[in-house]
Symmetry: C2
């Protein structure tokens, strides 16, 4: 029987600009059928969580611009479970609001907080890990983060170093580490002490609210003013006024890296943050020329190591291209070496300078 105190918060307010033009301001990455499975990344996140918490306890937090997309893609979610941010304020205010909202509905709640735009494989392992995590945070006053067992010396992720074991597969956190260079990443991998920081958290509503009071008191104070309005028809008006006044800060920086009751559950399911075209390329199945194809047909000649992400039923014919991104969203075509993908942000800015909002 399902535990009625378990909640899930799916965060889906990001704009995914690193995947422009495939990801667009009006339909970011999490709303796209990114892997050609017939379900968007958001829908896949929802499907994954459905066996774990009661459906009515799934909360979506997003920017108010994306309300129509959320309603279209997840018609099962009631309007009162869609929290619409009037401004982008990173993850700490987002999570704080969700925690206060859930506390008002159920003071005994425990919750998982998850991004909506990551890829997770081996869902059976995922389910077991999440159940284990819920059980832990329901019996310990701890902030639990999931650490993914690394499979390669990845330089694009943050790492968590484990400290003393608390229970099997659950340890105290010793350090959070930024993206390492290649050499250091190899050392991390070989040590067995370092795990990828997944950005997936579990805790009780009470524990996270206490942590916000202790480590992010300005944010907690804002939401404390709203006690009594969460879950009522006054919540929206309160948020419209108070949410934009919150500091824009990540939950890692605001709470996780400061708190002393942080634990990590080391997990073994497959995970990729789909943070860059190269990451997507690396995790995708490749054809015999090491090209990756998304949603299109490709005829390639003397071309290796490319990723083709083209919307619509389109044929791409390519000769003499190596290690490029070719992304076509219908009205924008991007051709860029994978090694230069950090320049895409600048390109988006330039497109804005030259053409206004048209191609964003």
């Amino acid at each position: 029987m399902e535990n009625q105190h378990r909640f899930c918060v799916i965060m889906c307010g990001g704009i995914g600009s690193r995947f422009w033009p495939y990801s667009r301001a009006d339909r970011p990455k999490q709303f796209i059928d990114f892997l050609g499975t017939g379900r968007s990344l958001l829908q896949m996140s929802y499907d994954r969580i459905l066996p774990l918490v009661p459906k009515e306890n799934i909360i979506i937090v997003t920017n108010e611009a994306y309300a129509p997309l959320v309603r279209e893609q997840l018609p099962e979610i009631a309007d009162e479970s869609i929290l619409l941010e009037p401004a982008r304020r990173n993850t700490a205010p987002c999570i704080a609001w969700a925690a206060y909202h859930i506390s008002a509905r159920d003071p005994q709640a425990s919750m998982i907080v998850t991004p909506s735009d990551h890829l997770i494989t081996n869902e059976r392992e995922f389910e077991q890990s999440i159940r284990r995590g819920f059980e832990f945070v329901e019996t310990h006053d701890a902030l639990l983060t999931l650490g993914i067992t690394p499979t390669r010396p990845e330089t694009g992720y943050g790492y968590i170093q484990v400290g003393d074991e608390v229970e099997t597969d659950i340890n105290r956190v010793k350090t959070f580490t930024e993206k390492p260079d290649k050499e250091l990443a190899k050392v991390f991998l070989e040590s067995g002490e370092f795990f990828w920081n997944s950005g997936i958290f579990l805790w009780s509503a009470k524990t996270i609210c206490n942590a916000l009071h202790e480590h992010a008191p300005e944010i907690a104070a804002k939401f404390d003013e709203g006690i009594g309005v969460f879950g009522t028809d006054r919540e929206t008006a309160f948020i419209e006024t108070n949410f934009p006044a919150c500091l824009s800060i990540s939950i890692d920086f605001a709470v996780m890296e400061k708190a002393h009751n942080v634990c990590v559950e080391t997990v073994r399911f497959g995970w990729n943050d789909l943070g860059t075209w190269s990451a997507l390329y690396d995790m995708s199945p490749k054809n015999r020329d090491a090209n990756v194809t998304q949603n299109c047909s490709v005829l390639s000649y003397n071309s290796r190591g490319n990723i083709f992400a083209v919307r619509g039923d389109k044929l791409v014919v390519v000769e003499g291209l190596e290690d490029y991104i070719v992304a076509d969203s219908g009205d924008v075509l991007l051709i860029c070496p994978k090694a230069e993908e950090q320049r895409i942000k600048q390109m988006v800015n330039d497109a804005k300078m030259s053409f206004g909002e048209k191609y964003l």
Copy 2:
């Protein structure tokens, strides 16, 4: 006052496969607004000829598949002036039919025969050259071809070597020469004796019919069977039966390279056969990064020497690409180095093998 005996034959039955996918089987190059002027190459050919011959004397010869396109683009042309080939048989049968058709309408006719998919600049010079050519073929029993004054050692064109002068700017033809290599092309250019073979011809109907009898007797015999039907409502049925039985051969090979009464008018208007992407690139205005843009907006970074031919109001963003063709027709995207464009034919074949007619 216009000379009522002057006719024009515009040939527009080609499929333009070297410009695939921008040129497609259902809308080849000549029907496309190739230069972004608002008029297709066929329409530009028509506009150019309009001051030179009576409108009702302009004959279009095309494949029957393109009848709707011709009617759409040239609504001024009466149906009886659109000759629809039931099969592709190269230029000799095409020109023979037009010559017999015109002879039936006016035994004293003179005519210019012109492709529909070339670019001509300096139209005032063009008009003067064509008037001069008409006057010549109306007073001489000669087949006249236009030789373009070369401006560079082009290896992609055929050349005509001039012989003895007949009149100012009109000489006997000494040789027709195939595409030369670079060294030879330089010699040709410096000699002053060699001109580009434009594929534009002038002659009287009587002279070309005589030449067909002498040099292509099988073709002439076919059309001789139809004397009496040309210009009547029996012409279509006659052509349906007899045209496909003609040898497929070019007028150059069937007549021009054999006949002894061939002259060349050396002309000075600007001309490009738009035969290849590289030719189109070379003749097009370039931006400061030496890129050529057709019908689209481009943001380019570290990219030089490319040609972007993209239909629709599309933004192309490109990084680190040099000397490529990027052509997008909506449902097909081609990315290919200019130096490899001779491979496009193979790509079209491969697309047909894999996907049938869909992307042709």
